[in-house]
């Protein structure tokens, strides 16, 4: 790839701050998706991702392996989300307690309505998981990471991560099967 991460990082470190925009465009969607699933609140997720990206820019020279920038950015964002969860204010509404997302309009088909309900159900089941299991499930199944990359992001050992993913699947499956039955 012409503009691979290491090249862009080198440009930024050489003084081309605008090149950081390439990295934002490249990783923002995934980081926002990850943070939103972790925090259950899109506004808090946007704050966490923005803070993480500014922090990444400030400390870019500390990125020890620019070819693994994605893992580094997810690590910073995950850390920021954990800090947020630790000091979470009571006014934040976790998804498990939030109203179902905007449901279909009356003109929508039953299939769309059914899908909205399914999304709400899965979101609630995911939000009910402990943060570290939720994180492991999201990184594995939504961000498509290998266990090795997840270890780089979370700092946890691979057997620990496998166990978290397995437990998250068990909890999700139990919640989903209750409804399906």
């Amino acid at each position: 790839m012409v503009n691979d991460d290491a090249d862009v990082v080198a440009r930024v470190l050489a003084g081309d701050g605008e090149a950081f925009g390439i990295l934002i465009r490249r990783y923002e969607p995934g980081l926002l998706r990850f943070a939103t699933r972790m925090l259950g609140n899109p506004d808090a997720a946007a704050d966490a991702v923005a803070e993480s990206l500014v922090r990444a820019y400030r400390h870019l020279a500390q990125c020890r392996d620019p070819s693994r920038l994605r893992s580094w950015l997810y690590r910073i964002t995950g850390n920021r989300c954990r800090s947020h969860l630790a000091r979470r204010h009571t006014t934040d509404i976790p998804l498990s307690e939030a109203p179902a997302p905007a449901l279909a309009e009356a003109s929508d088909t039953w299939e769309v309505l059914e899908r909205s309900e399914q999304v709400a159900l899965v979101e609630r089941a995911l939000a009910a998981l402990p943060a570290e299991k939720r994180e492991a499930f999201v990184l594995k199944h939504m961000e498509g990471m290998s266990y090795e990359e997840m270890a780089a992001v979370t700092g946890a050992r691979i057997p620990t991560l496998k166990m978290r993913v397995h437990r998250a699947r068990e909890a999700l499956l139990e919640a989903l099967e209750e409804v399906v039955r």
């Binding site: 050489a14 950081f20 969607p29 400390h59 780089a152 699947r169």
Partner: protein
């Protein structure tokens, strides 16, 4: 919570062909995969943070490390080199006398300049047998490579160097062979690098020269 059949976990981890699962496990497999796909394909409403981030980083002063050629010159002067001297025997005696005199004098800080009142000298020592290069990066040089090389003139695996730094606390790491970031095992104090994952930077405290005895 009922444990999931290990065959199903292996299929979900991509280590087993889901088509080989018994019918009930295939059903559970499909349920979990469709749940994950449903979440992935239904991103929550969001607003891009790109403009906000770029506006903020434009306010941050740009640190540009020395230009490549400048860095090469600094490196050239900072690296140990073999120097061959061809001397007449009479000069050899004079040179030996000079060297003896230098060794008898109190140790000076080599090529490191004298620190100001609010500065001090930081000595770095690391044991890295077999290393081809060792350098120090830290908060004092904006974690930039190529600015503070250690040397191992006698090839005993002990690398050392010194620098004049502002008095106070500084975080740092050794970079071995240009790729391996290693905390200083002799630092004694460490601080979280702030990026999670439990990695730590070494911490040193530089005393101002005015406070030195």
């Amino acid at each position: 919570m009922n444990p999931i059949d290990p065959r199903l976990q292996a299929a979900l981890d991509g280590e087993r062909d889901p088509a080989e699962l018994p019918a009930d496990l295939r059903e559970a497999y499909a349920l979990l995969i469709s749940a994950a796909e449903l979440l992935e394909a239904t991103p929550p409403p969001r607003v891009s943070v790109a403009n906000r981030v770029m506006a903020e980083i434009r306010q941050i002063p740009v640190h540009v490390p020395p230009h490549g050629s400048v860095r090469r010159v600094i490196r050239w002067f900072g690296r140990p080199r073999a120097v061959t001297l061809r001397l007449r025997p009479v000069w050899t005696l004079a040179l030996a006398a000079s060297l003896a005199a230098m060794l008898l004098l109190p140790w000076q800080q080599g090529s490191v300049r004298n620190p100001g009142e609010t500065e001090g000298i930081a000595n770095f020592v690391g044991h890295f047998p077999g290393a081809r290069s060792v350098e120090v990066v830290g908060s004092f040089n904006n974690w930039s490579r190529g600015l503070l090389h250690l040397s191992d003139d006698d090839h005993d695996g002990i690398w050392h160097g010194a620098a004049v730094l502002p008095a106070g606390a500084h975080e740092y790491m050794f970079v071995v062979d240009s790729e391996r970031w290693v905390p200083d095992p002799l630092a004694g104090r460490y601080v979280d690098d702030g990026f999670g994952a439990g990695q730590e930077n070494s911490l040193l405290f530089v005393r101002p020269s005015a406070a030195q005895p």
